[in-house]
Amino acid sequence: MLAKRIIPCLDVDHGRVKKGVNFVNLTDVGDPVEIAAAYEKQGADELVFLDITATNEKRKAIVDTIEQVASQVFMPLTVGGGIHTIDDMQRLLKAGADKVAVNSAAVNAPDLITAGAEKFGAQCIVLAIDTKWDPATNRYVVYTNGGRKATDLDAIEWAKEGVAKGAGELLVTSMDKDGTKSGFDLKLYQALCDAVAVPTIASGGCGKLQHFTDVFKETNVDAALAASVFHFGELTISDVKQELRTNGVTVR
């Protein structure tokens, strides 16, 4: 049986790992290669790197970072942030990324998903969605630009469209939960997993071990992603896996 994946997320700015709480307030937590190697030892199943470098001219720093990490750490690597073109994808995949995640650029030009899937295979293209519940319209609204800009899109419908266009995996962040440490947005992931058949990564809200059990027991997601709880050593990946094993969730 396929193991549920635990994925630390590394926000990278100019070649250093940072953590944005609620997408702002950066704190330097260290060197990407060292952190990646430490997570590999702990038993991480995959790593996600989000390039949060604001200026385009500095973006080649992430290519160097991935090149270095991929030479020392042998597990799947996903890179997102600032990917706008097939060339951006190509550079990162050549540097050693296994998958690329597209977010705002896919909302602005959904055919980027199809073009990427046709060139590199659907398994390479992750559609990242940042979303927030809107009580007024009773739906999950998609946000772009690092959570700063609301769109007209319904997250569940956008997920379906993205998969139809060729996305092989979804990385879905609940902005309501992100940074709160109050648990994953179970309702969101239940709705998503009912709507699409591709692997889905839950992100945002975990603060304690029980939250991982909840998201795997209560929803059909394939992976859970977390940043600060791992970066600051509040939880280790081995703790999480032990907890999941005890509760009958298949892990590596």
Binding site: A3, S71, F74, G96, R252
Partner: protein, 208 residues
């Protein structure tokens, strides 16, 4: 010297990075003369079966791969590279493979309640004693694929359960295949690449 066949497929560099990390001498090449001289050949691959065979054909690599396999050079196909070792693939129509191991490459059935592609870490069960597979029993490796190999049990060294029991390691004499990515499966995967290196050393020893 191990030659990694370079035919514009995505993950060749990651295989190279893993071999470099292990200090196993290797080079990327699409030159038939270089491939012909190799002590061992790695055939990587991601993408679709038909397109990959077209890419090998365009570079005139099909004949040389079949020749080196026939003369006993150890060969390791990884992921799609493993699938290409077989007779036929049925991804986007029927396509001829390299025909080095008898068998077909067919879709993972979606009606078994599993998500396709098979993506993530899954457990291997060794079904035959062989040094290549020995380190993988009850160990997880990283898979990314939507198609799987159907072949006789004698060619299968290990399987993985994903609705169907799909072959995760295959071997026929000097031709070896790994459906998972050993270059992305942590220390366990790297041990698989070391085992391939030993196959090469033993082949050299017996031919000297």
């Amino acid at each position: 010297m191990i030659v990694i066949i370079d035919y514009d497929t995505g993950n060749t560099r990651n295989v190279k990075k893993a071999l470099d990390y292990l200090n196993i001498e290797n080079t990327l090449s699409a030159d038939p003369a270089v491939i012909n001289q190799a002590d061992g050949v790695v055939l990587p691959g991601v993408g679709a079966f038909g397109k990959a065979m077209d890419a090998l054909r365009e570079r005139q690599l099909v004949d040389v791969i079949q020749q080196v396999a026939a003369k006993g050079t150890p060969m390791l196909g990884i992921c799609l590279g493993m699938q290409l070792l077989f007779d036929r693939g049925f991804e986007f129509g029927e396509n001829a493979g390299l025909g080095l191991i008898p068998g077909d490459v067919i879709a993972i059935p979606e009606d078994l309640g599993v998500k396709v592609p098979h993506m993530g870490w899954n457990l291997n069960t060794v079904t035959q004693n062989d040094p290549v597979a020995a380190g993988f029993d009850q160990e997880s490796t990283y898979f990314v694929h939507s198609f799987y190999v159907k072949t006789a049990p004698e060619n299968i060294l290990a399987t993985c359960d994903y609705g169907v029991k799909l072959p995760s390691i295959v071997r026929r004499d000097n031709v070896i295949g790994m459906q998972f990515h050993p270059e992305k499966s942590g220390q366990i995967g790297l041990n698989g690449l070391r085992a391939f290196k030993e196959v090469i050393e033993n082949a050299n020893y017996s031919s000297n």
